[in-house]
Structure formats: C-alpha cells, structure tokens
C-alpha cells in the first residue's frame, strides 16, 4: 500500500514543483508553461471535441498502419521461418532494407503515394512490418524441432503446420514484435503528420510549434502518452487472450 502511494507521489511532486517554480519565475513559462496553464488549455479542447477529433484521426492512422504492417509481417515471417528456400531468397532483401531509417524513406513515400492518408498509413506500416517480420521469423526458428517432428509424424498438412505449430509456437515472439512495432508506430505518426497533414495529434504538435502555442503542444504530448498507454494496454490484453498458456508462468 505504501508503495502505491509512493508511485503516485513522485510524479505528483514533480507537477507541484513545476507549478511552484513557474509561479516564482524559476521556470520560464514562455518555454515550459505550467501545469495549471496546460490544464486550462486542455479542458476547453476536451469540451469542444477538438482533442477527440485529432486523437481519433491519429488513432485511426495508427491502427490501419499497424494492421497493414503487422498482418503481412506475420504471414511472411512464418513462411520465412518455416521454409528455408523462402528465407534464403528474402533474407538479403530484408537485411539490406531494414537498417534504412523509415524517416528517410518518407519523402519517397510522399512522392509515390501523394499527400493523402495512404502515405501516412504506409509510413507506419513499413515501420511495423519489419519489426513484426523479424520477430515472427525468429519465433518460428526458435520452436524446438521436436514439435515439428510431432506434427510431421502425425502427417499434418502445410496449413495444419501453420495453425497448430508455427503460429502458436511463435506467438510470444510475435507479440514482442507487435509491442516494438507499436512503439515505432507512435514515433512515425508524429513524423508522418509533420508533412501534408491537416489534423491529428502529431499535426497538433507541429501546429503548436508554428504558432508558438506551448500549452497546446503539451496537450498534444500528453495525448500521445495516453495513446501509447492505451495501445500497449490493448496489446497486453490481447496477449493474455492469445497466449493463455503463458498465464501464471511469468
């Protein structure tokens, strides 16, 4: 119980100190604002629906981008893990393109997909894709051979191989990839909304920068933190459903 109080107290203390220092002029409010000022900006934005509007637009892009990257990542990762010829064919391409920073590809993505939604979703998708692909492949390759032998001995078809051994066996690693991918997605949404966006939480950050509206910028940062928390909570929840055999072992 005292531990819980402590974990609540430490961030509260920082907020209080921030506020106090802002009031006595130690902290420059033009640059760092203050908790009460941010709060006073936040509340009307919630009531007007402005914040929700931007949050939903960003959340929509993140979810679509995440799915567009994760689904092919899992499928290709399973195939590359299970079938050496596919792995040998594709691995050099993956190894060569994976280290390219996704932000560096953004201009190219904008040229190819234009300034609309597609380019933003694609940016996120490509970041998620690699992480999920590499984790899924590693997950399949780490499955003990004995389980493959059991399936083979029972004459499992290729499809049954996927569904009864490869997919569940790699599931813990796949979820590790999802979580990494989600972190990247949050990073990329801000970058994606920097250029040619008219709404979204990332856009709010850049808009606040242009307008020198520090309070609004903090509101956007808080929203991003909450978005990140919600998405990781959802992934934890899904993990418990999809990996029931891990429950209680951690």
């Amino acid at each position: 119980m005292s531990m819980e109080i402590l974990s609540f107290l430490s961030p509260s203390l920082i907020l209080v100190l921030w506020e106090v220092f802002a009031r006595i002029g130690v902290v420059d409010t033009r640059l760092f604002s203050s908790p009460t000022r941010i709060f006073c900006t936040l509340v009307p934005m919630i009531y007007s629906g402005e914040l929700l509007y931007h949050t939903l637009i960003s959340a929509n892009r993140i979810i679509l981008g995440f799915l567009a990257g994760a689904v092919p990542g899992v499928i290709l990762g399973l195939s590359m893990g299970l079938f050496p010829p596919i792995r040998v064919c594709l691995m050099p391409i993956v190894s060569a393109t994976f280290p390219i920073p996704k932000l560096a590809i953004m201009p190219l993505i904008l040229i190819v997909f234009g300034l609309g939604e597609t380019s933003k979703i694609f940016t996120i998708a490509i970041g998620v894709f690699y992480l999920v692909l590499i984790n899924t492949m590693a997950g399949v390759m780490n499955i003990d051979d004995i389980y493959m032998d059991v399936a083979k001995n029972f004459d499992a078809t290729r499809y049954q191989f996927y569904t009864t051994v490869a997919l569940p066996g790699a599931m813990p690693m796949i979820f590790a990839g999802f979580k990494l991918g989600m972190g990247t997605a949050l990073l990329l949404i801000v970058a994606a909304e920097l250029s040619a966006a008219k709404a979204g939480v990332g856009w709010m950050v850049w808009r606040a920068y242009d307008m020198f509206d520090i309070e609004k910028m903090f509101v956007a940062l808080i929203t991003l933190a909450i978005l990140g928390y919600v998405f990781s909570y959802i992934l934890d929840f899904l993990e418990r459903i999809f990996i029931p055999w891990k429950n209680g072992r951690r």
């Binding site: 001995n153 029972f154 049954q160 009864t164 599931m171 072992r249």
Partner: protein, 282 residues
C-alpha cells in the same frame, strides 16, 4: 510379406556424413515385426536405435534398403511416435494435446473431445483436461505424451525411451499403466529402452543391437506369460536367465562402443538428429 507381419525391414542402411567423415548408423537391418507384438530394442548409446524409429516414423529416410509397413486400415495413421523427452505442445491444453492426432485427421471437435476425455478418465487425468503443460509434473507430461500416441490409434506405435527421464517411482507407475493400456489394445509396438527390466516387463521379444554401426545382434524371446505385473515379474521363472542373457549380449557391445568412443569420439546421436532435422526442415 506374410499376413501376420506388420513391419518388414530389408537391408535397411542409414549413412550420413558428420564432420566430413562417413558414419554408418544402421547397417543392413533385416527384421520383421509380428502383428500385435510388443518389440523392445536395447543397444549401446549411439547405436542407431532412435534413427531406426525415426525412419519408421517417416521423419528420416534410409540410405539403402526397404521398409514395408502394413496398413490394414487406410483411415488410420501408419505410425505414432512417443518422443524421448518433452514433446507435448506447451500451447495446447492437456485435452488438446491428447486429441492432436484426431485433429490432424479432421475428427470433429465434439468427437475428439469425447475420445480424449475417455482416455484421460482411464489415466485419472480428467481434472487436468483444461490445464496447460507448464502446470504439470514431468510424470504427467509423459503420460500425456503416451496418451497422444495411443489416442490417434495408429497401426504401429513407436516409443523412444518414453520413461527415460523420469524418476524411479514415476517410471514404475507409468510402466504399469502402459502395460495395462497396451494389453487392452494389443497394438503392434516398438519400444526403445536402456533398461533390461523394462524390456522384460513389456516386450514379447527383445532386439539387442550392436554398437555403431547398428546391426541386429540377437533376438531374445521373452516367454513370460501375460498379463504381467511389475511386482511379480522378478519372481517369474526364467526372468533371471533372460536378464543374464540380454546383459551378456549387451555388455559386449557397450564395451565395444566405449572402446571406439575413446578412439574417434563420434558425434553424439542426439546432436546428429538435431542437425539432420534442421537440414530437412521444410
């Protein structure tokens, strides 16, 4: 191939290269397994026992020679293997593990659940039906391993030292259980073991294999009447004589294996299997 013969091996040879040198794991094995018999295989470590079973299970292919397995019922799987060590799927419940073979065959969920329940009932494991393997002890896991093979109802049951990793008490319990289940089904079975006691308890015949390259050294008939029981087995007339005979045959080979091991220390069989399967993983 006469009608009582379930498996026929003719000149079965398995070679592979390990570290640039050719290794003969099995050399011209000629063996017929009679329908409904329980055949035990003993031999020094690395003599190719596991390779033999893996060939029969369709997990590896022989270099030379032929294998016939009689399929009486095309609906049934040809073989089911109980692997050495932990091979039950950690991501499936006990019930799903036991019914795995049925799932692969396309039996409906309801039906395979009923069959699995029935089996778990026999083993006294019903209350663990929904549990996951990590919640179970080593003995329970091995029971499920054996149950999975039996439930799929194959023509041939292959068991590779299923109780090798268990402690003495658990081993005795599982041997007794296996004996009971098997005597109820009379399924043609091949069983690898290191224990002469186990071979005499379970087997109708005991194959003694030579040190590498693995050949059939001798076949010993176990004429101890069934149903057998662990408690009275040692008092059965003939037990001591059989034990002595098998040990004498085995001892020569174990010593031979030791001697060659000192000379050229071959790759251990388990490592080799890992390597082979990885190469062949498709």
């Amino acid at each position: 191939m006469d009608h009582t013969c379930a498996i026929l091996m003719e000149g079965l040879t398995k070679e592979f290269t390990a570290g640039g040198t050719k290794v003969v794991a099995l050399e011209r094995i000629n063996l017929s397994v009679i329908e409904g018999e329980f055949l035990c295989i003993v031999g020094p470590s690395g003599c190719g026992k596991t390779t033999l079973l893996r060939i029969l299970a369709g997990l590896e292919s022989q270099t030379f020679g032929r294998v016939f397995i009689k399929a009486k019922n095309p609906e049934k799987p040809l073989t089911s293997m109980v692997f050495q060590g932990d091979s039950i799927f950690p991501w499936m419940t006990v019930e799903e593990n036991v019914a795995y073979g049925l799932r692969i065959k396309g039996v409906s969920l309801k039906q395979r659940r009923a069959i699995a329940r029935d089996y778990l009932q026999k083993l006294g494991l019903v209350r663990f039906a929904k549990a996951y393997p990590h919640q179970l002890s080593g003995g329970m896991k091995q029971r499920i391993n054996v149950a999975r093979a039996f439930v799929s109802d194959p023509e041939i049951l292959l068991m590779d030292e299923p109780f090798g990793s268990l402690d003495e008490q658990n081993r005795l319990i599982l041997q007794q259980e296996l004996l009971k289940i098997w005597e109820g089904s009379k399924k043609t079975s091949l069983f690898i073991t290191h224990s002469i006691d186990e071979a005499l308890l379970l087997g109708d015949r005991v194959i003694v294999m030579t040190a590498q390259p693995g050949k059939v050294k001798d076949i010993v008939d176990v004429n101890i009447p069934r149903p057998r029981d662990i408690l009275t087995l040692r008092e059965t007339s003939g037990f001591t004589a059989l034990y002595k005979r098998i040990w004498q045959l085995l001892q020569e080979e174990v010593l031979k294996a030791k001697a060659t091991e000192l000379v050229n220390s071959p790759v251990s069989s388990s490592k080799r299997h890992r390597k082979n399967t990885q190469e062949g993983k498709t």
